[in-house]
């Protein structure tokens, strides 16, 4: 009237497989803005006359029609990869009230004969005119740099 079948199972645990290493992007090293030795005052020059700060917002010695001063910043760990453009670099200035002023990056490139050193040209905006000393920093692929002091010359 009835019958049965039996199977005896031996179940072995499977060793948890070692996850296949997922190639992780090489972390972008934080950019480093050059500052004066033993100081956080930045190494920055007017792009026309190569004078250091304080920088006026506008100047008659200018290569552009808008009259705005362009300041050269110098940084390490800023290197454009193939297919990248200067859009990967952003810059900003922060005043003593922690107001942040975006700075337009107009040029990123290596300094001649110094492949480890990049030059970043930024345009000083009008609303920065009375900011005094500001902390300038950049981001490369979203990675924040150090902050360095740059003085803005108030308008006459």
């Amino acid at each position: 009237m009835s019958d049965s079948r039996r199977w005896n199972l031996t179940v072995n645990a499977v060793a948890t497989p070692t996850p296949t290493p997922t190639p992780t992007p090489t972390p972008t090293p934080a950019p480093v803005l050059l500052v004066e030795e033993n100081s956080n005052r930045g190494v920055a020059l007017d792009s026309v006359n190569w004078l250091r700060d304080p920088f006026p917002i506008s100047t008659i010695y200018n290569f552009s029609a808008d009259g705005h001063t362009r300041v050269m910043l110098f940084a390490m760990n800023v290197e454009l990869q193939a297919g990248e453009n200067l859009a990967i670099v952003t810059a900003e200035a922060e005043d003593s009230q922690h107001t942040v002023y975006p700075l337009i990056v107009e040029y990123v490139g290596n300094v001649s004969n110094l492949s480890w050193l990049a030059q970043i040209n930024v345009r000083l905006p009008d609303n920065l005119a009375n900011a005094g000393n500001v902390l300038v920093s950049i981001k490369v692929r979203g990675v924040q740099s150090n902050k360095m002091v740059v003085s803005i010359k108030p308008p006459p």
């Binding site: 009237m1 019958d3 079948r5 039996r6 199977w7 005896n8 199972l9 179940v11 499977v14």
Partner: protein, 370 residues
């Protein structure tokens, strides 16, 4: 020269006889056709049928007679319900002459199995040479192909006999006799009729058969599980199909009891009734497992936790579909069906059980052996 030839012939004949006696199976194997094939003989009730009194010219009639007999046979319960559990093998035995001996009218024919009416002085009793029949059976079909054996005798006159090999004429009503005799030989059932002798009544001991008892206490009656509480014991009514305790069985008019008023084991033309049907089904299961096949064949299986494993059972099928397969994992019921798959088992030892059970209402009490 003739003397020499005679002597040679005598030596040859003696050698042939000795060879025949030593290796009778070589000479007596006959052609076999399996006319109902429901599966491997190892897991079926196999019926082997022999013919007697059929000449070579009558082989087609023999085939037709066998077919008709088996068609009517499987119209009867419980064989109808369990017909898939049976195979039927027809052994084509050719006789020199047609028919059977009728000594009462001095009619004799030469047949393969020496079938004769008027056996032991009883006109309707047909006897065959059981030794010859067994030799042909033994050499024509395997042991597993002859759980039940019939001889069908090519004679239309009513007659037959029981025993280890039942004998029937081609008379239509003789099937009843076959079914009755099968109750004895296959079902191990007793006759349910009383006297007068012969045979002699002996009611001093409990019969071994499932359908006879000397017990009169309800709880001790073998078929008590079939007796309704409202049915009086002993049972004096004469209604058919009502299980009870009816006086008169095994050639005794008193002192031994039968389960129903009039089953096939008492009167031809009646059904087996509940108790005898239950016994016949249990006997079928004594030969046949409800499991025809199972997969995988290996019973010890090693897996990993990440692997799945499928199991399957091929059950036999009753007409009413009463057989089902239940699956258990570590003793806990999982599902019903012919297949089962395990996935994500925890590491360690596990047990899968497939339990195949016939839930037929025709069996109320199952036992291990019958």
């Amino acid at each position: 020269m003739k003397t020499h030839l005679k002597a040679y012939a005598s030596r040859w004949s003696l050698s042939a006889i000795l060879l025949f006696l030593c290796f009778p199976q070589i000479a007596l194997a006959e052609p076999v056709e399996t006319i109902i094939n429901n599966g491997d003989a190892a897991n079926r009730v196999d019926i082997a049928i022999l013919g007697d009194g059929y000449t070579a010219a009558e082989m087609q009639k023999y085939k037709n007679d066998v077919q008709a007999l088996m068609t009517r046979f499987f119209d009867n319960e419980p064989f109808r319900e369990y017909r898939n559990f049976f195979n039927v093998h027809r052994i084509d035995v050719v006789s020199s002459q047609s028919g059977a001996d009728h000594p009462e009218r001095s009619f004799f024919v030469n047949t393969a199995l020496d079938a004769t009416y008027n056996c032991q002085g009883s006109q309707r009793l047909i006897c065959v040479n059981i030794t010859k029949a067994n030799i042909i059976l033994g050499n024509s079909v395997s042991f597993s192909q002859r759980d039940i054996a019939f001889v069908i005798v090519n004679d239309p006159e009513y007659g037959g006999s029981g025993g280890s090999i039942a004998v029937t004429s081609t008379h239509l009503e003789v099937l009843e006799l076959i079914l009755h005799e099968l109750g004895h030989s296959f079902g191990l059932l007793a006759d349910e009729y009383g006297g007068p002798p012969p045979p002699v009544c002996n009611n001093t001991f409990e019969p071994s058969a499932a359908n006879a008892t000397k017990a009169t206490e309800r709880s001790l009656i073998k078929w008590n599980h079939w007796i309704d509480a409202s049915t009086p014991i002993p049972t004096l009514s004469a209604f058919d199909g009502v299980p009870g305790l009816y006086q008169g069985a095994v050639y005794c008019d008193a002192g031994l009891f039968r389960p129903t008023f009039g089953s096939r084991m008492r009167f031809l033309g009646r059904p087996y009734e509940q108790i005898n049907t239950e016994q016949l089904i249990r006997r079928i299961y004594n030969v046949v497992s409800p499991i025809d096949a199972s997969q995988p064949a290996a019973t010890d299986i090693t897996l990993t936790t990440a692997q799945s494993q499928s199991f399957s059972i091929t059950p036999l099928i009753t007409l009413s579909g009463t057989i089902k397969v239940d699956w258990f994992l570590d003793g806990v019921f999982q599902s019903t069906g012919t297949g089962f798959t395990v996935n994500n088992l925890t590491s360690g030892a596990h047990v899968i059980d497939a339990v195949v059970k016939d839930s037929t209402a025709q069996v109320r009490k199952d036992t291990e052996t019958y």
